[in-house]
């Protein structure tokens, strides 16, 4: 399997995605915003459609749309124009409706579109890998630098605001990192399934971890494991990698739930 260049590229890109998605997802889960990735993913779908319509690489238009969608959700939430779930619903439905309209207008309802929605192990190129590595490592550095402040906001948002931390900025950073993760991951996992890779490893890790730091570490291990197992199954069974990766994540969740139940 690793004799093939496209698989080596897929595994290298997948490893970055497997680390980044749960690291960002940890903060979404703690803020009870687990579904924000789904909302942003659907806006990214509109971005892919816009790329087809305008004749620009859908990767870049999807990334731009995801960043705009994330900014929109945070803006609605921060100004209390809508509750968190309502802000998400507005962006989610607008994104999917916009995507359907644009993709029809572009006449691009084809198999290539499916590779953006559900991932493909054939599509990662060398230049894709460079972009994924630069953006992914950059996002991880931002997370590492701001870790303590982000944890303080996740634990107690009002307390952090009273203490003088720039809470709107930190919330914006997390939303933007979620958007970036979706943009970076769409070639491997697909924009409709990447949100699951941000959330499932974290929920699984919370069941067996013993602290915040161990939750982050175990989440990253589970994310990486899900991607590696999912890509392998995808190769041998000729299935879309997004689905196999997420089902591997579900299996990890079921395993940790069993461990948790046996401990009681």
């Amino acid at each position: 399997m690793l004799d093939l260049e496209f698989m080596r590229l897929a595994f290298a890109a997948g490893a970055i995605v497997g680390v980044l998605a749960p690291a960002v997802g940890f903060f979404l889960v703690q803020r009870e915003m687990s579904l924000i990735g789904d909302g942003i993913g659907h806006v990214a779908f509109a971005g892919v459609a816009a790329g087809y319509l305008l004749g620009i690489s859908p990767v870049w238009t999807a990334l731009a749309a995801a960043l705009i969608g994330a900014g929109g959700i945070e803006w609605l939430r921060a100004r209390r124009r809508a509750a968190g779930d309502q802000a998400l619903a507005i962006v989610f439905y607008t994104g999917i409706a916009g995507g359907v309209v644009l993709i029809s207008a572009a006449g691009a309802l084809n198999a290539n579109l499916f590779s953006y929605l559900f991932g493909s192990i054939l599509t990662v190129t060398g230049s894709d890998l460079v972009v994924i590595a630069v953006l992914g490592i950059g996002a991880l550095v931002v997370l590492a630098v701001l870790m303590r402040a982000l944890i303080a906001v996740s634990l107690d948002e009002d307390g952090a605001r009273v203490a003088g931390l720039p809470v709107p900025v930190l919330n914006g950073v997390i939303s933007m990192l979620a958007a970036l993760t979706i943009g970076v991951s769409m070639r491997i996992v697909g924009i409709l399934l990447i949100a699951a890779l941000m959330v499932l490893p974290v929920i699984a890790a919370q069941r067996i971890a013993w602290s915040l730091r161990s939750t982050i570490g175990v989440s990253i291990c589970f994310g990486l494991l899900s991607v590696l197992v999912g890509l392998t199954v995808s190769y041998y069974a000729n299935l879309p990698p997004g689905g196999t990766i997420v089902l591997a994540g579900t299996a990890v969740f079921l395993a940790t739930s069993t461990v948790e139940a046996l401990r009681r």
């Binding site: 701001l146 303590r148 307390g159 605001r161 203490a163 931390l165 915040l212 939750t215």
Partner: protein, 238 residues
């Protein structure tokens, strides 16, 4: 004595809604331990949010240590315990990680230094949670979780400690223990304490001043001067 908190003719309403607070004049001197109580919906949490500079008064002025509360700069002077429903008591954090978060505003990036660790240890010791520092918050009782969050509020060495409904979800025995802890912290640290709650039985015997809020301040004085029927019967303090 300099003032920690000052309300001067304050009115407040959310947007175009009805008045939540009207004509509030309140002065809390540095070092006082004051309980602010009143019925749910009476405006006490709004009063607290105004004191913390999280809301802007419709009329009048709110000052923190002599500065306008909204633009008060030295935010780490304030230790704040939010309502239980708003804090991550179910997060997979250890007690120590929670208390370390109390240093985040002083040290938002980079590794914690020796003085940060010393401040965290001191705060844990003060609330009697040092032995439980490695335990996950979610495995502790409501009273122990509140102690952990009080330690978090103390970790930055604040001059003003503000607690919003600290006894919610905590049994009566733990409420009394919490009241005694706050009394001890007040005595040892000389910190100003604003204790905001719909009931005040846990701290009635410790506070110098009780302020009752029902859109306006309807009582402001020592708890002993409170009419008998207004006392909280759930805390007998035999």
């Amino acid at each position: 004595m300099p003032l920690a908190v000052e309300f001067d003719g304050v009115d407040f309403a959310y947007g175009q809604g009805p008045a939540v607070l009207t004509g509030v004049d309140l002065r809390v001197a540095e070092g006082e331990f004051v309980a602010i109580a009143g019925p749910n919906g009476g405006g006490k949490t709004t009063l607290l949010r105004l004191a913390l500079g999280l809301e802007r008064p419709t009329r009048g002025a709110v000052l923190l240590f002599g500065e306008t509360a909204r633009t008060f700069g030295a935010r780490t002077e304030i230790g704040y315990l939010a309502q239980r429903t708003k804090i991550g008591v179910h997060a997979p954090a250890t007690v120590r990680e929670v208390v370390e978060a109390g240093r985040a505003a002083l040290r938002p990036i980079g590794r914690l230094r020796r003085d940060d660790h010393a401040a965290v240890d001191e705060a844990l010791e003060r609330v009697g949670m040092h032995e439980l520092a490695g335990r996950r918050l979610s495995t502790l009782s409501g009273g122990q979780q509140q102690r952990a969050f009080i330690a978090k509020a103390l970790a930055a060495h604040p001059s003003l400690l503000v607690l919003d409904e600290p006894t919610t979800g905590v049994d009566v025995a733990a409420q009394d223990a919490l009241g005694a802890l706050l009394h001890r912290l007040h005595e040892e640290l000389g910190v100003t304490i604003l204790y905001v709650s719909h009931e005040f039985g846990a701290v009635e015997r410790f506070v110098e001043r009780l302020v009752l809020v029902r859109e306006r301040i309807v009582f402001d004085g020592p708890p002993a001067q409170l009419p008998g029927l207004w006392h909280d019967p759930s805390h007998t303090h035999a």
